[in-house]
Subunit: 661 residues, 2 copies
């Protein structure tokens, strides 16, 4: 075809610079240009500094990966730091069609988590926990709990896919999880709202007798990459509402610390002129920090000192008390975070209705347990360790302390929900000399916008925190972004904590408008070693191995069996499926296997079938098996839903379902 | 409680700076600091310039909002420019639990779109279209098509929520939509893979006789904010695979332009040694640009010159030809974008297998139609306008031209899929004098990473393009981000197109790892006027009005009816629900209404019920109605799932379902 070109004259033509040049080179620019642009955009020098600290040029990778829960989106989000870009969502409890999760692939994993077999297709993810070795992130697995149905999921960080969902048979409400023991022997799931065992019916008037608290220790089989339900057990707790938890490490190895609220055992009932839960559950000046000896508990379980409840082994409260594995001590009321310092020696509790953080000493706790230094027992007989005997320090940090993380330099950081600020304060003891300020002292409060819940410091809950960055997971954004209708994003703010003292600025605002992260962990990117293609062609991600039945190139076929089953063996490669015509009879049961035979990084194909509610994402090498009943006659074009090539639109075929009659 | 503080000595204490100071002030910083940080991070001056151009300080709002489809995620994503931050996802075809979409709320909207009543819970969103007035975005509504089941959704930009989903009764595959006519009289949905009417069964051997192409014109009732199905109609087209479309405007007002592929009518069948679709559908040197006179078609429909097919009025191909509303003209093969220039006078087609963009003149098209300047007819009798008679120009832009957008300055921009680049070239005619270069000339090709599909320029497909920014929607990211397992994000790159000539750098890489945007439109933020709270307390977003039955403060109650129905009238306000105890009997039908009585911006409450698969997001003022059968006995703590206050965890209640026996 010819090119029609009208010219405006030679002068203009000569003015044309070379075609095909790449983007502006650095040499063509000067700092004056930068300053001019900054001025035009109304940026201060501090803004420019922040921009330089967060900007990640094209092709440069982030230094840290933050795994954040998606809240009631039911997913996990991976965010790169310092750029604060969402790198990927990982579908967990809520089906997600981009990843094909729950639309033919992963269905059995999701179904594994159905409470009493009842289809539940969403989750409320709260607390992601990276697997640890020696109390440090090892980058292998990620665990996440679901508050709405009390479930725990396992994600394999080879391929960032959910491998398992376990449903807690005892309760339908969890919160204090997931947290792992220092070598990931157990994934801990603490309960929250007390319910009768097995969430069976019992009127609220029978609250104290029938409603139960609990903590579940899910045994993790690292080799299989699965929770081993048959080696897991739970411990009965009083019907307080157990809240966040942390596992001890180093000095506190072998212990679980677990907050609680509603130790008042309020039962609400505003409609009957009773105090609503918010009032009834906030009457006492203190709630209870639970201190659980899980090493001893494991031995009790192994010795068979359990009751089987809902088919699950439970160490009863009676046994727990008789064997001395459970103690409590007072903590400021309405606590959220309980956080173990890097050496395991201090436990920091934040009670939202007390302006202090309260620091307990593990050495003192051990001594108090040994000496039975009790200030009494609760009404269930749980011994209460004398508060002053186990207290190390209290630091007044501000209003609404919620959650604490640690730096490498003797600093601790606590979110202040009511102040809308992040506090930096100094640890004492052997941490004290690391920071220039006195021990146990508030150093700085940086305002955040607004209502910060959890915070995450890079590796800030491990034995070796990294520092550098802190992310403030703010619940409200109000006026920080262009309004997106009445439903606004959360605001995840990045703070630069690399300097000492009061210098701790907010350097980036990241809207989160695809979920509501509750908690996050930040790992050094170089600790992760993800696959970029599956190790072999015909790989089944569910078992992380080659699938013998996987369709192979040259062996594509459709097999009709006598029993009305049709087996399809299909391959996908740029830019066709093979076979392209599939004819079945209405009523057939279809087993459709597809292998993506690509080996190039990023050569993902989608597979989408109309009317039958099927979609899959086939990463390079992956094989999937999709089953359905061909109950609806018709002509259904299936296609590759991932834009794979110039002839992507031609990558399709027809499923023809012949009417039965 | 007391504060225990050990001091390290007065010197250290004095060194402490003032506590509670805000983040670093600009005055404390100098450009030297910025340069030092840039150097430390390995940033070039060009990087720093890019950082300054994209960085949006805390609280500063973006200038533009990009509405991007989510591909097979089934959603729409709103992204702020220049910061390239995802501000919000808008749930459309795929249920999404953060927004509560499809888990008690919105269920009936989703069900409206079920093909033949069969539950389909995902979508493949492709082409968002903002509503227009006079060919310019008016910021009122957003439309989006679903390729997998041939559906169209309506989103109200007051509250950014999906209001309607219509299922196309004729076909189960669409692509060339949605696009709107200049005043949004119609929302256009072009088909894609030909299927028999109603996607009924017909063997592929009967392709030419039974498989059909089509375009559907959905009448939009702006006042009601709904598509009026009863005033909508379709036009039968040959069984080519209709592809992208655009509506004429100004000089071309009244016309629809629609690409096609597979004018070969290849039927694939690689398994039987036939050429696969990718080969069979790419044999001809040209495909057909469809030119449809929708003004005339509307009159035919109004005059009743339609057949009723699947209960829907269709202008048959025979009638279309008899009445002269359909013409085609050759276009480069495997085209994707057909894009109408701002004045409506030129139509730009990109054929992926031809290195040129081909520019058609509307004046010449009209003349050729009037003069019947045909080069023949296709095998269905559709007159083919002589190519040379309608051609204005061809510009060689590079390999794999895909989609074109326009600037305000005489420039057009075309994505080059195979080159992985974005081309800037000059328009001619009355646009020519606007740019310094000659008419119809390639000016610059900026490499992008990698495999760009669509591009979006700010208001770049309207009668008044804005320029400034171009987003390149790249399909592959390969090595641009930290690898997220075998499934990698897409890469949305921001190009600064505010300068003339060859200066058109990539200034930001944005990973998109929560979906696969196909197409996007970018609107000036100040054209949008979203509500930040609902206009009144008790507002039903589905009808955009106050709901008379909405629960009101002081009128909360539970009403048990004789027929086994239990009606709950509940309010939600920080930090309690009222009532807090709900007791029903197993087998009861529950109608649960909740009003969020908050009036503060961002005071959203969630509502989550375990086991019953229910979640809702209640924005300030919103009322919802959720229905379910209480088929499972037990004790179910329901709670607020949106972190609303310091006593958010206490915002809960118990649903007790008493066993039937």
């Amino acid at each position: 075809m010819h090119q029609k070109t009208r010219r405006k004259g030679l002068g203009k033509l000569l003015a044309l610079t070379v075609i095909g040049a790449t983007s502006v080179g650095a040499s063509a620019q000067s700092m004056n240009d930068v300053q001019k642009v900054a001025k035009d955009r109304g940026l201060s020098t501090a803004d420019l500094l922040a921009a330089a600290k967060t900007y990640t040029p094209s092709g440069v990778k982030d230094d840290y990966i933050m795994f954040a829960s998606g809240g009631h989106a039911g997913q996990v989000f991976a965010v790169g730091l310092p750029s604060m870009r969402i790198l990927r969502s990982i579908a967990v409890f809520t089906p997600e069609s981009w990843q094909g999760w729950g639309f033919g692939v992963g269905n059995e994993v999701i179904a594994e988590g159905f409470p009493k077999g009842k289809a539940n297709l969403w989750g409320d993810t709260h607390h992601p926990a990276l697997s640890e070795t020696g109390g440090d992130y090892d980058g292998q697995f990620l665990f996440i709990n679901d508050k709405i149905n009390a479930r725990v999921a396992v994600i394999d960080l080879h391929d960032w896919e959910t491998k398992q969902i376990v449903k807690n048979p005892l309760t339908v409400s969890d919160h204090g999880g997931t947290f792992v023991t220092p070598d990931t022997d157990y994934v801990i799931e603490g309960g929250q709202y007390a319910v009768p065992w097995g969430y069976e019916y019992a009127p609220i008037s029978e609250y104290k007798e029938k409603y139960k608290g609990s903590v579940t220790l899910w045994k993790f089989d690292r080799k299989r990459g699965r929770i081993d339900k048959d080696k897991s057990f739970a411990i009965e707790l009083p019907p307080y509402w157990q809240d966040l938890s942390d596992a001890g490490k180093l000095a506190s190895d072998g212990y679980i610390f677990m907050n609680s609220l509603n130790t008042e055992m309020a039962t609400g009932g505003i409609e009957d002129k009773n105090p609503p839960f918010e009032a009834g559950a906030s009457m006492n000046a203190t709630d209870f920090l639970h201190i659980i000896d899980w090493h001893k508990a494991e031995k009790l379980y192994q010795a068979g000192k359990v009751e089987m409840i809902e088919g699950f082994p439970v160490i009863s409260l009676k046994t727990a008390l008789a064997e001395g594995i459970l103690h409590v001590t007072p903590e400021p009321r309405s606590p959220h975070g309980v956080d173990v310092a890097p050496k395991g020696d201090f436990i920091v509790v934040s009670g939202k209705l007390d302006p202090h953080v309260t620091i307990y000493s593990m050495a003192k706790i051990k001594q108090a347990i040994a000496n039975k230094t009790y200030s009494g027992k609760d009404e269930f007989g749980v011994p209460i360790l004398d508060f002053d005997s186990v207290l190390e320090a209290q630091v007044e940090v501000g209003l609404g302390p919620l959650h604490t993380q640690f730096g490498p330099d003797g600093y601790a950081y606590t979110s202040l929900f009511l102040d809308s600020a992040v506090a930096r304060w100094t640890l004492g003891g052997s941490y004290g000399p690391l920071s220039p300020e006195p021990d146990w002292t508030l150093v700085q409060k940086t305002p955040v916008q607004y209502n910060v819940g959890h915070i995450a410091v890079a590796e800030g809950d491990t034995v070796s925190p990294d520092g550098h960055y802190l992310v403030s997971l703010n619940k409200w954004s109000v006026d920080r972004f262009f309004p997106t209708g009445p439903l606004l994003p959360q605001n995840l703010q990045l703070l630069d904590i690399s300097s000492n003292g009061t210098e701790m600025p907010v350097i980036y605002d990241m809207p989160m408008g695809v979920g509501e992260p509750h908690y996050a962990q930040i790992i050094k990117a170089d600790k992760l070693d993800p696959w970029t293609t599956y190790p072999g062609v015909g790989w089944d991600p569910h078992v992380q191995n080659l699938e013998p039945m996987a369709p192979k190139k040259g062996m594509e076929r459709v097999v009709r069996k006598d029993d009305g089953t049709v087996e399809i063996y299909m391959t996908a490669i740029r830019s066709h499926f093979n076979p392209e015509h599939i004819t079945v009879k209405q009523g057939d049961h279809v087993i459709w296997r597809i292998t993506n035979t690509e080996r190039a990084v990023d050569a993902t194909h989608g597979f989408a079938v109309p009317v039958y509610n099927i979609t899959a994402s086939l990463e390079p090498g992956e094989t999937v098996k999709i089953e359905f009943d061909a109950d609806t006659a018709g002509t259904f074009p299936f296609y590759c839903s991932e834009f794979c090539s110039a002839l992507h639109l031609e990558m399709m075929g027809y499923l023809m379902v012949e009417p039965a009659d």
